[in-house]
Amino acid sequence: MSTEISIEHVSMEFRTPEEVKHVLDDVSYSVTPGHFVSIVGPSGVGKTTLLRILTGLTQPTSGHVAVDGVPVKGSPAGLAVVLQDYTRSLMPWLTVEKNISLPLLNEKLSKAEIKERIGASLEEVGLSGVERSYPWQLSGGMQQRVSIARALAVRPRLLIMDEPFASVDAQTRFDLEDLVLKVKDDFGITTLMVTHDIDEAVYLSDEIVVLYGKPAKVRDVVPVDVGASRSQIETRNSQRFADLRTHVYAMVRGLE
């Protein structure tokens, strides 16, 4: 199930008639199969650009990205995405079950199999019973759960999340973080997440990649050694958690 991602010497320039904007400079990094990796850095540093290159939505100016050794051209097989703006990434004209089953159109599944996948993924995110609802009838947190269920339904080998919890309230955010930890324990999908929230990055990740500078380089790769089992209260109160978050925060702020 798990997938290796390699990013080799990736540089990215955006050319407009007025200027050339150099966003990423010689970024190299490999994601260990099954790892949960967060990408952090100052606003506008190019985190989302890097994710877009990995999903095949954007081609890098130079360098290579590969998933399981296969160069990325277009969206790699086995990729699922969860984006920040769930209201724009779910379809208001489709019910929850139709939204979840949409990516399954590519696979030759029987009706029973599709139904089974929808049921199982909604159960995994704790949302059974809303199959026939429309996304806009649900709360923000529930809509993001639907996005996660849609991602899980394709049985992804690679999960990419772009600030998945930035648009929900604090309490819902903790719930969704714990949901993601559960998904990680259950499936061990290789996951890359962009976040602005350094606490969240430390809480969820096996490893944190810090991007910094203009153009951005990999400033550091920080292994998160706070243990495999995590809890909102104990983990966040541990000394190691505080040290890591201070270290990462200082780098993001350019203080270290």
Binding site: T55, A80, R88, S89, L102, P103, N106, W136
Partner: protein, 256 residues
């Protein structure tokens, strides 16, 4: 919570109140007011004539001819405009390229081309159909193209990430996004179709209610003229209410 007292009060449809006041003012103005003794008939005369016309088969054949021109012209316009609008909307170049020409034809009032259509078709039903189709096809095509272009980038990119191809993007994202735009176009077009079908008779001499109005006016039967206008007004309301009713059931997500 309504109380028993409130429930007992007789509910008068608010629309009826203004309509009755209008009829009353009409009656007063034409009997004793500045319009007394002119060719403007009283409200009661008009209503009596209206009822008499409802019993006359000639009314229904004129009504049928007008509706035939309006409906066939409308259907032709819809069948042409929506596929063209979709194709044009899919390509940025096609959209920008064709917009000027379509805008040009859109702003030509149908009345202006009546002399040409009489030369080509004569004062016939076919001329009325052409005029109706011409009057709405360009606006509807532009409206459709706008709708297709309006599809949310986040939604389309989410679909690309899930490896859903262009056909599925059209089916599940572009078309539903365009639906509210097309609906507005259709609502306006349906009313316009009726108006133009009448104008085709009134000015172009095509058969139907327009010509009936023209003939009654020429024959000095002002009560018939007014009764026919009354009939047209009511017909217009039926058309627009019907279209709205259908839309509220098909594009439910747009007016939540």
């Amino acid at each position: 919570m309504s109380t028993v007292l409130e429930r007992r009060t007789v509910r008068i449809p608010p629309a009826l109140v203004t309509a009755l006041v209008f009829l009353l003012l009409w009656q007063v103005f034409t009997m004793w007011g500045p319009l007394a003794g002119t060719s403007v008939p009283t409200a009661t005369t008009t209503v009596v004539t209206f009822v008499r016309l409802l019993g006359d088969s000639a009314t229904y054949s004129a009504l049928g001819q007008t509706l035939l021109m309006a409906v066939v012209g409308f259907v032709i316009a819809v069948v042409l405009a929506i596929p063209v609008g979709i194709l044009v909307g899919l390509s940025r170049f096609a959209f920008l390229s064709s917009k000027f020409t379509m805008d040009f034809f859109k702003v030509i009032p149908p009345i202006v081309i009546i002399p040409v259509t009489i030369l080509v078709f004569g004062p016939t039903i076919r001329m009325g159909i052409f005029l109706v189709a011409f009057a709405i096809v360009f606006a509807l095509a532009i409206q459709t193209a706008y709708g297709v272009r309006d599809a949310d980038v986040v939604l389309l990119e989410t679909m690309r990430c899930y490896r859903l191809g262009i056909v599925k993007q059209i089916r599940y994202a572009r078309l539903p996004s365009a639906a509210p735009f097309i609906a507005v176009g259709i609502r306006i077009s349906a009313s316009a179709a009726l108006v133009v079908a009448v104008v085709a008779g009134l000015i172009g001499g095509a058969p139907g209610l327009g010509r009936a109005i023209l003939l009654s006016q020429a024959g000095g039967l002002s009560d018939v003229t007014f009764a026919l206008v009354l009939l047209l007004g009511l017909l217009g309301i039926v058309v627009s209410r019907t279209v709205t009713w259908i839309q509220n059931r098909t594009i439910f997500w747009a007016n939540r």
